[in-house]
Subunit: 211 residues, 2 copies
């Protein structure tokens, strides 16, 4: 991102990026327990920001690890419950509607991840150059990803592997199939500065539509 | 899209979506010949819009066909030149910088298509459910796609196949490898109404950055 501030703290509608998804989870389930995982050297700054903006406190703040896998594993040491959701704070536009849908699917099937079809042509890089991929069989994976506490805590007992790009891959490695549900196109991941512009615009549109 | 107006005519910064990419191509190469392919029943409306907005005329307007393949094939019947670019009018944010990069790559290699890496986890749907894909080897394909006139006209002599999702797949089917070059994350495809909101926001950002 352009600023020196880590992206999870960048202001979106005047509030830190991270706050938006915490708010959506509490809107979905008022009694939810929120464990926030942050790099150790950012925890003090988050506490300061929270006081400045008078944000309601999260239930626990936990220091992250070397990779996404290690960070989630650290977070899980403070997590419990019949169902546990793992969400990427860089997706601030998650709605309480999507959160509820994923939880409800996981309640039925034990696992649920939100996915979306791909609107663009895709290619696969190989030794001879590249070749087209049939995109109708491809899905983009979003978060939150929700699992029964038992499944998720058990899956994260394994040793880290580089192919663990999300929680679904960890849970599958433990031998369990994951259930797909519909994601939302608004639930974008903030990666480059233009994504923050998009997020502002999308939030503006929600407001003008009274959502 | 939400409006009844076909998306290529929707207003972006007050001008029809289609106009923005025509402008970018002319900015890249002032002597470029522009052939516009439109569904037959939209051609009159485009002419009316062009007069209303006093848009500079394109060199030729051609009626499209049943699929993207047939539309491009119809357009090619009026196209000539050492290099021919095929662009999707639903990508109004294409820059003259990107257009020049793709043309320059095609000048060297005979073919060039702009691609981008994927920032999100991907899954492949199969008979048993779904499985993760290693995203580092996947690229999203954009337009404009540029080829030597000879290669492209020859490739489009073939019979239509459903796997022809873009021009690269047609050219490859004729036995020629395509060269990849870097796309631009701004070069979005307008598919859903929120994409138009994003396009407005991105253009606003360009303006404020003096681009």
């Amino acid at each position: 991102m352009s600023a020196n501030l880590p992206k999870q703290f960048l202001p979106l509608r005047g509030l830190p990026l991270l706050f938006h998804s915490i708010f959506a989870f509490r809107e979905a389930y008022s009694d939810i327990r929120v464990v926030l995982v942050l790099p150790e050297n950012q925890i003090d700054y988050w506490q300061t920001l929270s006081r400045q903006h008078k944000l309601p406190p999260v239930d626990q703040v936990v220091a992250g690890g070397e990779t996404r896998f290690h960070s989630v594993k650290n977070g899980l040491s403070s997590a419990s419950g019949d169902l546990i959701a793992v969400h990427d704070g860089a997706r601030p536009l998650v709605t309480s509607r999507l959160i509820r849908r994923v939880f409800e699917t996981a309640e039925k099937h034990g696992t649920a991840i939100p996915v979306l079809p791909v609107n663009e042509s895709l290619r696969f890089l190989d030794h001879s150059g590249s070749s087209p991929i049939e995109r109708s069989a491809i899905r983009i994976v979003q978060t939150p990803q929700v699992f029964t506490g038992e499944l998720l805590l058990n899956a994260y007992q394994c040793i880290y592997r580089p192919e663990f790009t999300d929680d679904a891959t960890v849970v599958e490695y433990s031998g369990v199939h994951v259930t797909l549900t519909n994601g939302e196109s608004d639930n974008i991941k903030i990666t480059v500065p233009t994504d923050l512009t998009l997020a502002e615009a999308l939030l503006g549109m929600r407001k003008s539509h009274g959502k």
